[in-house]
Amino acid sequence: METTLELQSLVSSAQAGDEESFRVLYSMLSPRVFRFIRPRAKSREDALDVLQETFIDFWKGMSRFSYQGDSSLDAFLYRIASRKLSRVFRLWKREVSLESLGDVADVEGQESDHGAVLDVVKALQSLKSVDKEILILRHIEGQSFSNIATLLGHTENALKVRHHRALSRLKQTLHYE
C-alpha cells in the first residue's frame, strides 16, 4: 500500500501538469477504481470504458481537488465513477447476457457452483439501482451497515430494512421461492 506522502506528492505534481505523475497515480489507483466499477457495470468492456472516462475526468478535474488524505482521493474518484456509471446506465439494456459475465471469477471451494453465482450476478444486475447498490456495497465490497447508511444517507435501521427487501427481491428474481 502506498504511503500517504507518496500519493499526496503525486497528486500535487499531477495537478501541476506532470503527466508522469498522473501515470503513476493511474497505475496505483486504477485497480481499486475498477473494482468499484465492475460490479456496477453490465460487462467488462463497459466497465473499462467507464474506467477510462473516469480517469479522463479525474485528470481534467484535478485542479479542483484538494488532498485531504487518501480516502478523499478515493471518494473523489468514486464520485466521478458513479456519475459516469449513472450516465451510461441509461444507455445499457437491463438484461445482462451470460457472455458478458465471462470475467466473474470462479470461486474456489467444492460446494460453490459457478453457474449459480452467474445467475445471482445476472439477477443482481436486473434489480433497481438502489437495491443493487446496497447489495454490492454490503456483499461484494463487504462494507458495514453503518458505513453504507452514511454513504446512502439513511439511518442504519432503515438501511437494514431496505437491505432485507433487496435480498427478497433478488430472491424473487432468481425464483428461489
Binding site: 495537478q15 501541476a16 501538469g17 503527466e19 501515470r23 493511474y26 497505475s27 486504477s30 485497480p31 475498477f34 473494482r35 465492475r38 460490479p39 467488462r44 473499462l48 474506467l51 477510462q52 480517469f55 479522463i56 475526468d57 485528470w59 481534467k60 478535474g61 484535478m62 485542479s63 479542483r64 450516465r87 470475467d103 466473474v104 471469477a105 470461486v107 460453490s112 449459480a116 453465482v117 445471482v120 450476478v121 443482481l124 447489495l135 454490503r138 456483499h139 461484494i140 463487504g142 432485507h164 435480498l167 427478497s168 433478488l170 430472491k171 432468481l174 428461489y176 421461492e177
Partner: protein, 437 residues
C-alpha cells in the same frame, strides 16, 4: 415467505470479478493519454485521418502557429484579432488546470501590448507618406509632459497619428515633426502646432491609444474570425461527441470575443487541400483577406488588402443564397494561385447572423434575480444569462430541477449534472439571452 436470506447472502458474497489485468490497464491508459493529448497535438497530425478533423486541426494549428507572430501585434495590426482569438482558442483547448496559467500569461501579454501602444513603438501603424501632406494635415498638437512629449498629428478625415518624442521645446518639436514627416515644412508645422506644457507625467489616455485601431482592421479581423467560427460550426457536425463539445466551446469563446460586426458583411471561406501536406484556409472579407496556410508543418498567415472593387464584384457575381456552410467549407480546389479574380467557384457564405444578443446584451445578477419565478425564470450558467421559462416544463430531468434555479446561478448545478454533455449544452445555448456583467 422465507425471511432467512443466508443462502442468497452467501451466493452474493461469492461474487467476484477478475481484477484489472496489466494489459487492460495499459490499454485504458493509452486511450486516456490519447484523449488528453488531442488538444496538444499542434505539430504532428498523423493520427488524424478524417478530412474534417484535418480541417479543424489546420485551423487550430494555423491559429496556434501564429501565436508567435500575432503575439507581437498590437491593436491596430490586422493580426491583433487573431492574437485574441488564438488566446481564446488556446484557452478553450487547454485542460482546466492549464487554463488559469494561460489566462495569466495572456493577461501579461495584454499588458505588454498596451505598453507597446502607449510607448509608440515603430510597430504602430504609420500613416502612408501620401496621406500626410500639407494639404491634409489639419492640426498638430504637442503635449510636453514631465517624462515625454506626445505629438498628435491629425490629418485627412478624423485620422490621427500619435508618437512620442523627447523634444521639450517648441522649436525641437517642430524639428522632430519635420524629421518624421519631411513633406511638412517647418513653417507649415509652426502654423498648425498647438504646443502645451503639462506639469505631470503622461498617461495612456493622453496618447489616444484607442483611436489607433483603425476600424477597417477591426472589421477585417473580426469578420475573418467570424468566418472561422462558422467553419468550426460546420466541422463539428462530423465529429464525435467529445470533439464537438470542444469545438462548441471554442465557438462560444470566439463568439464571446467578437464585437459587433457591421451588418451585411460577407465572408468567403475556402479550404484548399491539394494533399495532406498543404492546406490552406482563406478568410476573405469585404475589407481584405486573411490566409492561413499550412505546408510541410510550417504555418503561414498572410493578410492582404484586396482591391475592394474586385472583391465586391466577385461577391455579387457568385453570391449564393444557400447558406449551407458545409458546402462552402468542403470546396476543395486544386488551384494554388493567389489571384482572386478567377475564384468564382468559391462559395460566398453570408455571415451567420451575428450573434447580437450574445455579444451586446449583458445583465447584472440583480437583473437575473428579478426573474425568479417559474412563470418568468432566468438563470445564469458559466457567465451567460438564460431565459429558461419555457424549458421548465420540458426538462427531461423534471421541472423542479430547473424551477429551483430561477433567479440564481446554476453553473455548479449544470456543470455537475450535464458538464461535458453535448445535448444539454446545445439545449441550454438556445435559451441564451445575454451575458452576465
Amino acid at each position: 415467505m422465507n425471511n432467512n436470506h443466508q443462502d442468497i447472502e452467501k451466493a452474493l458474497s461469492e461474487i467476484s470479478f477478475r481484477t484489472l489485468s496489466n494489459e487492460e490497464q495499459a490499454r485504458v491508459l493509452s486511450s486516456i493519454v490519447a484523449v488528453q493529448k488531442k488538444p496538444l497535438l499542434f505539430n504532428s497530425n498523423k493520427n488524424f485521418m478524417y478530412k474534417s478533423i484535418i480541417i479543424a486541426l489546420v485551423l487550430a494549428v494555423g491559429l496556434g502557429g501564429t501565436v508567435a507572430l500575432a503575439d507581437n501585434s498590437v491593436p491596430g495590426d490586422p493580426l491583433f484579432g487573431i492574437d485574441r482569438a488564438v488566446e481564446n482558442l488556446r484557452l478553450s483547448l487547454a485542460s482546466s488546470e492549464k487554463k488559469n496559467e494561460l489566462r495569466i500569461s495572456f493577461a501579461g501579454e495584454r499588458v505588454k501590448e498596451i505598453e507597446r501602444i502607449t510607448t509608440s513603438s515603430p510597430s504602430m501603424s504609420r500613416p502612408a507618406a501620401t496621406d500626410v501632406t500639407e494639404s491634409t494635415v489639419t492640426r498638430i498638437e504637442a503635449d510636453v509632459f514631465t517624462n515625454e512629449t506626445v505629438i498628435k498629428i491629425e490629418y485627412g478625415t478624423n485620422k490621427k497619428f500619435v508618437f512620442t518624442s523627447n523634444a521639450k521645446t517648441r522649436v525641437l518639436v517642430v524639428e522632430d515633426v519635420n524629421k518624421n514627416f519631411t513633406v511638412l515644412s517647418k513653417a507649415f508645422i509652426e502654423t498648425k502646432l498647438d504646443f502645451k506644457a503639462e506639469d505631470r507625467s503622461s498617461r495612456a489616455d493622453d496618447r489616444d491609444s484607442s483611436s489607433d485601431i483603425s476600424s477597417e482592421d477591426k472589421i477585417r479581423v473580426t469578420t475573418g474570425i467570424n468566418a472561422a467560427i462558422s467553419l468550426l460550426n460546420s466541422v463539428s457536425a462530423s465529429l464525435d461527441a467529445n470533439s464537438s463539445i470542444r469545438l462548441k466551446a471554442i465557438t462560444d469563446e470566439l463568439n464571446r470575443y467578437l464585437g459587433t460586426l457591421p451588418p451585411n458583411s460577407t465572408v468567403d471561406v475556402r479550404i484548399d487541400s491539394d494533399d495532406d501536406d498543404e492546406s490552406r484556409i482563406d478568410l476573405r472579407t469585404v475589407d481584405g483577406r486573411i490566409r492561413i496556410e499550412m505546408k510541410d508543418g510550417e504555418i503561414k498567415i498572410k493578410t492582404k488588402d484586396d482591391d475592394k472593387s474586385s472583391v465586391s464584384s466577385n461577391n455579387n457575381g457568385s453570391r449564393d443564397d444557400d447558406d449551407d456552410d458545409d458546402e462552402g467549407d468542403d470546396d476543395s480546389r486544386g488551384s494554388r494561385d493567389d489571384d482572386n479574380d478567377d475564384d468564382n467557384g468559391g462559395a460566398i457564405i453570408p455571415l451567420p447572423p451575428v450573434p447580437a444578443p450574445i455579444t451586446t446584451t449583458s445583465y447584472t445578477m440583480t437583473d437575473v434575480k428579478l426573474h425568479n419565478v417559474q412563470s418568468n425564470c432566468w438563470t445564469t450558467v458559466n457567465g451567460s444569462v438564460y431565459d429558461v421559462t419555457s424549458w421548465i416544463s420540458q426538462h427531461p430531468g423534471g421541472s423542479a430541477a430547473i424551477a429551483s434555479m430561477c433567479g440564481v446561478d446554476a453553473s455548479s448545478a449544470f456543470n455537475g449534472q450535464h458538464g461535458g454533455q453535448s445535448r444539454p449544452v446545445s439545449e441550454l445555448a438556445s435559451f441564451k439571452i445575454g451575458v452576465l456583467k
